[in-house]
């Protein structure tokens, strides 16, 4: 009996200590002591496309990168899971590999579930096709998108390619963007080849409201508008009111 009490007292004595330890661990990791707890089930998933879009060459670990071998299986899982009804795509990317970016964009465009994209900060270069691939796209007021011709080392699939090959590759990007947004091919190419906007380069840096004006992005807005739109698209799909108009 005595012994038991002793153990109990010991256990009680230890408890506060472990609690503080946990709290300090939380502070060092997150800068806060507790995180809101919720049930782990949601009908809307979110996919973040951040940093560089990694292609065939693995980027060193200090780079922040979106790897397509991570993203593509997730898109497949989202398509497969009946509990997931919508997808929110969050972009803050500098661009990267053309083929990997187009692969992600095509996967998103062919997803049967409602998708909404939101460009925060930047959706540059190959981030543009990803942003327009969703059913509805948003851009925040301060976010920018750089539109420029594809630039490469000339090395594609390991060997130097001809100018025609690169031109065709660029044509794929232009065709995808014009097909999935309201921008005309002439306007997109005009932005792509305009001079004097970027330092020692051709292209245009399009800021939020301008992207909407050119028809590249559907609306200027933040997370609440994006979520509201996504819920609306989900409702529309549920009630089967016609097809989602791009």
């Amino acid at each position: 009996m005595e012994k038991e009490r002793y153990f109990q007292a010991e256990a009680e004595g230890e408890q506060p200590e472990t609690k503080t330890e946990e709290a300090t661990a939380a502070i060092t990791q997150l800068g806060q002591t507790n995180v809101p707890q919720m049930e782990l089930d949601t009908n809307i998933h979110c996919l973040t496309i951040v940093g560089q879009i990694e292609g065939h060459i693995q980027l060193p670990p200090q780079n922040k990168a979106t790897k397509y071998e991570h993203v593509i299986p997730q898109i497949v899982a989202i398509e497969q899971n009946p509990k997931i009804e919508g997808l929110l795509v969050i972009l803050n990317t500098v661009g990267g590999d053309v083929e990997a970016g187009l692969a992600i964009a095509e996967m998103l465009a062919s997803l049967s579930k409602p998708t909404v994209s939101i460009v925060l900060g930047g959706g540059h270069s190959i981030g543009v096709p990803i942003a327009v691939s969703c059913d509805h796209s948003f851009i925040t007021e301060t976010a920018t998108m750089t539109i420029h011709p594809i630039r490469l080392t000339g090395l594609v699939i390991g060997v130097p390619q001809t100018f025609e090959y690169l031109d065709k590759m660029q044509e794929r990007v232009v065709r995808f963007v014009t097909k999935h947004s309201k921008i005309s091919e002439e306007k997109f190419k005009e932005l792509m080849f305009s001079k004097g906007n970027l330092t020692r380069d051709i292209g245009t840096n399009v800021v939020g409201p301008d992207a909407v004006r050119y028809g590249l992005i559907d609306e200027v807005g933040g997370v609440s508008q994006a979520m509201a739109k996504l819920r609306e698209l989900i409702e529309m799909k549920k009630s089967g009111e016609g097809k989602i108009v791009q």
Partner: protein
């Protein structure tokens, strides 16, 4: 130093091979994570790769949290 070349920096100065081996993708509780091994036989979370936003609210899935290497599945 300014290098006048159109070759990207990572082709001019390739990163040490060992740097790539530091991080890897593992599944823990069915959630994909980018992790880094620690000296204590644990994995430290570098990035949570889940698309479920609620997985980001759990402290044990946050970047910097550790879990035993034996708990990871690939």
């Amino acid at each position: 130093m300014i290098l006048y070349t159109m070759m990207p920096e990572y082709l001019v100065f390739p990163t040490d091979r060992a740097a790539y081996e530091k991080q890897k993708l593992v599944y823990y509780d069915g959630i994909p994570f980018l992790v880094q091994a620690t000296e204590t036989g644990e994995y430290e979370i570098v990035q949570n790769l889940s698309t479920n936003p609620y997985h980001f609210l759990e402290a044990k899935y946050a970047p910097g949290a550790r879990f035993p290497a034996s708990a990871a599945t690939s």
